[in-house]
């Protein structure tokens, strides 16, 4: 009797464990850009709570940390695919890591959907890696237009993080547009994890920059802001979406006041019905307004689940194709269309740091930028 019972239980568990759809979530939960990973994870969890099932099966999330490192990102993706046998992967956050991990997902034919990697190479020539955010040629262009036309800047010193594909790409796209618009720009280099920027800042000062643009991520942006104030820089500060984490203000304090940055979303700009619902649900669960990356994480999960639903079965090739057929999807960050190359077409939002908070400044739509 006992044996039969055990056998029955085993069969039951085996059945039960097969009747789930596993989704890998590969994020930087520790290390340099851990705030990004944690924000995305909050969004993914909220989305998972709202949609627990697809194709009549439970969805199981498998969270894997990559310590904000490229090699670990590749390892994490391998682990998700080979050990956990996930159907698809949500992740990575920063472009360099998505490039490293995406290579493996592409080889193993497992769809990967990044909430926020903006470098064009992330999806370039790939069939299985897509994203729910805009790309850097557009972001850099929008930032250049804003800097030139709205802020009237003429000379910008661009701080480039040579370790991050995102930073190198964004810098080039910004400078392209900015010089075409008649501005002058100078590249100044640093590296993720650097803490001493006085040599770089004095270079920017001797260039006569009326603005410093840091295309890296929030830890370095905050430090550059502080040290540039210390060294007597009085011009404007600019950044890309790498600035968009509450930690920017926690580390930067007063020094980041007045910093303009491009990003994907602002909770006050409730573009769709869904964004309102999202803000309310997020506030109920976490007790504060959502950050951009939480909204993007939410959308990445929702679009993936929607693609699985449309595919009709848990087949990774079909799901990857369906992700790229996403049309007019109502997400938390707005209406999302993903093109056949796996890129989303969306507007750029510009925020400014005001009184220790991110305040909404402007929206730039894709059709507003004409790069000559």
């Amino acid at each position: 009797m006992k044996k039969i019972l055990i056998a029955f239980l085993l069969v039951f568990f085996a059945f039960f464990s097969f009747a789930t759809i596993k989704i890998g979530v590969v994020l930087p939960l520790t290390g340099g850009v851990s705030a990004f990973g944690q924000l995305v994870w909050e969004g993914v969890q909220l989305a998972h709570e709202q949609v627990l099932k697809v194709l009549g099966e439970e969805i199981e999330l498998v969270l894997i940390d990559n310590r904000s490192e490229k090699t670990e990102a590749a390892n994490a993706v391998s682990r998700a695919i080979e050990k956990e046998h996930v159907l698809a992967i949500v992740g990575e956050v920063v472009s360099g890591n998505t490039l490293a991990g995406g290579q493996i997902a592409e080889e193993k034919h497992v769809p990967m959907i990044s909430p926020s990697s903006t470098n064009p190479l992330v999806t370039d020539g790939k069939k299985f890696v897509s994203r729910v955010c805009f790309t850097d040629p557009f972001q850099g262009g929008a930032l250049a237009v804003f800097a030139k036309e709205n802020l009237g800047l003429k000379k910008v010193a661009v701080f480039v993080d040579i370790e991050q594909d995102y930073s190198v790409g964004l810098t080039n796209f910004f400078i392209d547009t900015f010089t075409k618009l008649g501005g002058q720009a100078k590249k100044i280099y640093f590296k993720s994890g650097d803490q001493e920027f006085s040599a770089q800042i004095t270079q920017a000062l001797s260039f006569g920059a009326d603005a410093i643009l840091v295309t890296g991520y929030y830890p370095e942006i905050a430090l550059v802001a502080q040290q540039s104030k210390m060294l007597g820089f009085t011009g404007k500060l600019l950044a890309g979406d790498g600035a968009d984490a509450p930690e920017l203000i926690q580390i930067g304090g007063e020094a980041v006041e007045g910093l303009y940055f491009t990003t994907h979303y602002h909770p006050d700009a409730k573009v769709t019905e869904k964004s309102k619902e999202f803000v309310d649900a997020y506030f109920k669960k976490y007790g504060r307004k959502p950050s951009t990356l939480s909204a993007l994480g939410y959308d990445a999960y929702m679009i993936l689940v929607d693609a699985i639903k449309r595919a009709g079965k848990a087949d990774s090739e079909l799901v990857a194709q369906e992700i790229r057929k996403t049309r007019n999807f109502e997400g938390a960050t707005g209406i999302i269309n993903i093109d056949e190359n796996g890129n989303a077409v969306k507007s750029v939002v510009i925020d400014v740091v005001k009184n220790g908070e991110f305040a909404f400044e402007a929206v730039i739509n894709p059709d507003q930028i004409v790069v000559k």
Partner: protein
Amino acid sequence: MNLNSVLIIQNLFNGLMVGGLYALIAVGYTMVYGILRLINFAHGDIMTMGIYFAFYAVVLMKMPFFLGVIFSIFATAILGFLVDRIAYKPLRNAPRISALITAIGMSFFIESFAVVFFGSNYKSFLKTLGSNSSIIFKTYKIGKIIIPQITLYVILITFFTLLILFYIVYKTKIGMAMRAISADIPTTSLMGINVDLVIGFTFALGSALAAIAGVMWALRYPNFYPYTGFNPGLKAFIAAVFGGIGSLQGAVLGGFLLGLIEIMLITLFPSVMQYKDAFAFLILILILTIKPSGLLGKRSIVKV
């Protein structure tokens, strides 16, 4: 090449400050090496813990900042003592490589401990300083030269701390015991000296200095997270080897030189500034090929 005198003077102070912090950490490496022939790879992480102790003393226990730092110095000293007791003491008679691997394990353990208990996000002293937070941003201006006040404070405190250290090592009884142990452990213990206690004290002393360096590091560069100590720890290790590991004066000299070389190189040749960290390792390779015992190190003869 960039020869701007204002820049050079400004960065001379910067180099002195960074070098001083390297020196404070490097003496911790060198003291432990002098006594146990062990590279305590957890030393950089002990520095990180020093920052967290000060931070939480101010945030959770509502201590005034200065008191929080004092608390952190003692707490970190106890941590250093415990690390020796728990991880290294059982391995005193084991092969040296076992102790070395344990040190690496200890480093990972402390980092992971900090991730689990303090969270992996960046934290900053800005809020804890409250209305005094402007101290971080204040600068002195002499003509065109701008020097952050905090840089000067850090340099002064570093010199003062190093003086106290030299006093302890060269003028007190326990310092004499430390020097005796570094010469010969068995003979020292025959003289009725509690060797384990003195070794524990050495760890505590090194850790206390690391805590001071850590807090100053976190004030000058106001973001810290569980891996903050990794890079300074590595650089200080290079500084200790550069100066001659096992030699106290060597560690101080190595620290200051490394800091100055790093900063001055990127001041004079701004086009290579993204390779700043590589220079430290180049120096390490150079010194190991030219003078493996370091600038002030003595050549030791190992009898086989």
